[in-house]
């Protein structure tokens, strides 16, 4: 698994690839999760995080605020490690592509089963305040081929080459 600087560089390449495909929204959503950080029990803090905790505790105590030492099960907020950030981005890309491609495949099969000739998606317009524009687009009802195979190849790239 890529760690440290390698993971940071790989994250940057994957984020750049997504931006080139106008999929910045995936990067934004992941970065919102990263910004929030994660939580771990006090007993599981890494040595570095324990040291940071101690320094924060001393700082508050020195300011005259009586802060009790955390108990082993207390939950502590910590930032994601670089390899965890990369894993979050990889999972997000995988999820979006799988959900979109499998939804398309599902809709094609549903159409065939229920005798649906075509499906157009259209933005409402006109007669209510919330809807003011209209644009129409078709969902191709041709059953896509090798969906699972295509997803499997992408997963190999994401998990075996990007993450590892």
């Amino acid at each position: 698994m890529k760690r440290g600087q390698e993971a940071i560089a790989q994250y940057s390449e994957l984020a750049s690839a997504l931006r080139q495909m106008d999929a910045d929204w995936i990067v934004s959503e992941v970065e919102e999760v990263i910004a929030r950080g994660k939580t771990v029990p006090f007993r599981d803090l890494s040595r570095e995080e324990s040291a940071l905790y101690e320094s924060r505790l001393i700082e508050e105590v020195d300011r005259g605020i009586a802060v009790a030492r955390a108990k082993p099960n207390d939950i502590i907020g910590v930032p994601y490690e670089p390899h965890e950030r990369l894993a979050l981005l990889v999972e997000a890309v995988d999820r979006v592509i799988a959900a979109s491609e499998l939804s398309r495949s599902y809709i094609s099969k549903l159409a065939s089963e229920w005798g649906i000739a075509s499906i157009e998606l259209e933005s409402p317009e006109g007669d209510d305040a919330a809807a003011s524009t209209s644009s129409m687009r078709s969902i191709s009802l041709e059953i896509p081929t090798l969906t699972n195979e295509r997803l499997s190849i992408l997963r190999h790239v994401l998990h075996d080459e990007v993450l590892s």
Binding site: L18, A92, V96, R104, P124, D127, P144
Partner: protein, 224 residues
């Protein structure tokens, strides 16, 4: 040291796996729209699974096999475009209608957007005649759909709880393509119906389909 895969190689790998773009929610044929159509499809499948028959009509009652579906909410009675809905019949009688993206009226009298709604056919017909939004307490199923790449944000969970409070009569089902994180805990603590990481072919898909089928059966039992 493992080699870093370049952005250009990743663009090629991702593009070759796609039949549709992964652009922003508002872009052409986005995953977001497909996801809502997929959930609409699950309602139709669930109806079929309990023996209801399904046909499709536009706002004027004309039977259609070429569907026009909304990408954002509008009124059920909207006449400027011929949006399609599904008619769910039971023993030869039209009982329910499945709609994608309409407004429904809550107990407070305020109308809210609903991503997928299965509503009593008589209530839907009355709403079209009166050019008003149907009452949510006449709905058998209401689904709030969220297509996200990463964990559902807490504010989304809070908004959903607010929506549930106002909708009262027909508590909606929260469905997300991504993990729930703290929102899962929040909704579970509040005993709200929610499905996370629900995508086609996932285990959660069958759970949702069964839940919808149960709600449709319950509706038919209550309204023989």
């Amino acid at each position: 040291m493992a080699p870093v895969v370049s952005a250009s190689a990743l663009v090629n790998a991702i593009r070759s796996s796609l039949t549709i773009p992964i652009r922003s929610h508002s872009a052409l044929t986005s995953g977001y729209d497909l996801y809502e159509v997929y959930l609409f499809g699950l309602c139709i499948e669930a109806a079929g699974s309990i023996g209801m028959s399904v046909s499709f009509r536009d706002v004027n009652g004309v039977t259609k096999d070429a569907l026009i579906l909304r990408t954002s909410p509008s009124s059920i009675w909207c006449q400027t475009q011929q949006f399609t809905h599904a008619i769910l019949s039971w023993r030869g009688r039209e009982r329910l209608e499945a709609h994608l993206g309409i407004y429904v009226k809550a107990g407070s009298g305020v109308s809210h957007e609903a991503d997928v709604v299965v509503i009593e056919a008589a209530e839907a017909a009355k709403a079209r005649v009166q050019r008003n939004d149907p009452r949510v307490n006449q709905a058998a199923v209401v689904i709030e759909a969220k297509f996200y790449s990463s964990s559902v944000r807490l504010r989304t969970g809070r908004e959903f709880l607010g929506l549930v409070t106002d909708l009262g009569g027909g508590p909606p089902i929260f469905v997300a393509s991504s993990p729930g994180g703290s929102v899962h805990r929040l909704l579970s603590y509040r005993s709200k119906s929610a499905h996370f990481e629900l995508i086609p072919e996932s285990t959660q898909e069958n759970e949702l389909k069964s839940q919808i089928a149960t709600k449709l059966r319950d509706y038919l039992a209550r309204n023989p």
